[in-house]
Amino acid sequence: MGKREGMEVSIAVSHAVQLARAEVIAAYPITPQTHIVEHLSSLVANGELDAEYITVESEHSALSACLGSMATGARTYTATSSQGLALMHEIVFIAPAMRLPLVMSVANRALSAPLSIWNDHSDIMGERDAGWVQIFVENGQEAFDHTVCAFKIAEDHRVLLPTIVNLDGFILSHVVEAIEMVDQATVDRFLPPYQPLINLNPKKPVTMGGFAMPELYTEAKMAHQMALAGSYDTIVEVWKEWGDLTGRHYKPVETYQTQGAKVLLLTMGSLGEIAELAVDDLRAKGEAVGLVKLRLWRPFPFADFRAAVADAELIVVIDRALSVGGPGGPVMAEIRNALYPLDKRPQVMGYIAGLGGRDVPPGELIQVVKQAKAGGPAVAGREFQMVGLRE
């Protein structure tokens, strides 16, 4: 068992990047991601991490620099949040399509306007379809563990796709937790140096990021789709190996108290721990309520999800983002979509909570479950409910 240390989760993430021996870091500070890259720059400046730290003038440049370094074959890391991720948007789509396997932490934060520095999932939902492996973590320990695992997943020759580790801004990034560290020798055994399959090399020149005619673009998209869908097995394998090393086992879809549950809450990210408290409370009162937590967002774990909810009659999805003018929450929309082809499918109700840093205490989720079981409030013309909305 590794040493337990009390530290801010952002610092733990930067230590994970240090243990992974990242060789290039290009990043631009933005709240609430700042402490991660600030600490990494100190580690590099103090000689504690042998890496090139590229200071850039924007997030667009940060990710562009990461693509360049990744193309040479260097293990590469960046981190961002909210407006910074939005500014990266153009390059976010290029990295996976070019199969450049960098790792990025996103300290999830609301998007302007109105300006908000606090947490929700609006930022990452804008990048949902870019084609990265995307993981959501629930606490600081998971943020640390999944940062290390992300490098191994991304760089595996069966995957070779960039990987985003989503951690809720402030709720996780700025909280001090007791985190069990893993020693360098263990991480070195788990994560050998990156071996690129193709890289920029003067002895064997290649062209990367070239032009595709209409005759090839469709095939290129399918190749990307198959690579991302096919990364599932490697992800599960890497998490199993990490679990065997550390005793901390992770699954694409986590379940909590789902035995016999007819009603399931569904969350992504740090809200999972709050929802556990709500489920404990409801179970203590004899209600058959459980919880399903999506850890793996891309590739979407269709089979695991369907198995986890097979016996449910009602799924209450708590989204931390709103698809304005659409079906409500993006997670809810995907849940409904995943269930639609099934003959027997539970009812799905969409609730949106915790936007722009609004607290979601367990009591609120208990109310949500009660309301949903009663058929939900009838609000004409609305496909979803807003938790705690004053109207």
């Binding site: 070019m98 070779l160 020149p205 990367m208 005759e215 090839l216 469709t218 095939e219 290129a220 190749a223």
Partner: protein, 97 residues
Amino acid sequence: MSKPIEQYTWQELTLGCVMTEPGSAREYKTGDWRSQHPVWDRDRCLRCGVCWMFCPDAAIYETPEGYFDMLPDYCKGCGICGKECVTGCISYVPEGS
């Protein structure tokens, strides 16, 4: 590429569509985009090579006598060579005339 692009399946593409051989643009012939083509008046040509240098498609070549001409498979008839020519020795002839 070893076969026409419309014959490749998604499984046959290289990782991230990396091009492992140089000069693949040679296979893409843009000459049929052209509605006009440049003609050099050799009496006024200085053989300076400005047209060759400015051609955005490398569709101008140097003849054995040191003059310049276009490659019909690639020249799009964009007009840049004529615009840049120092002596104005390049004129354009509509296609099909």
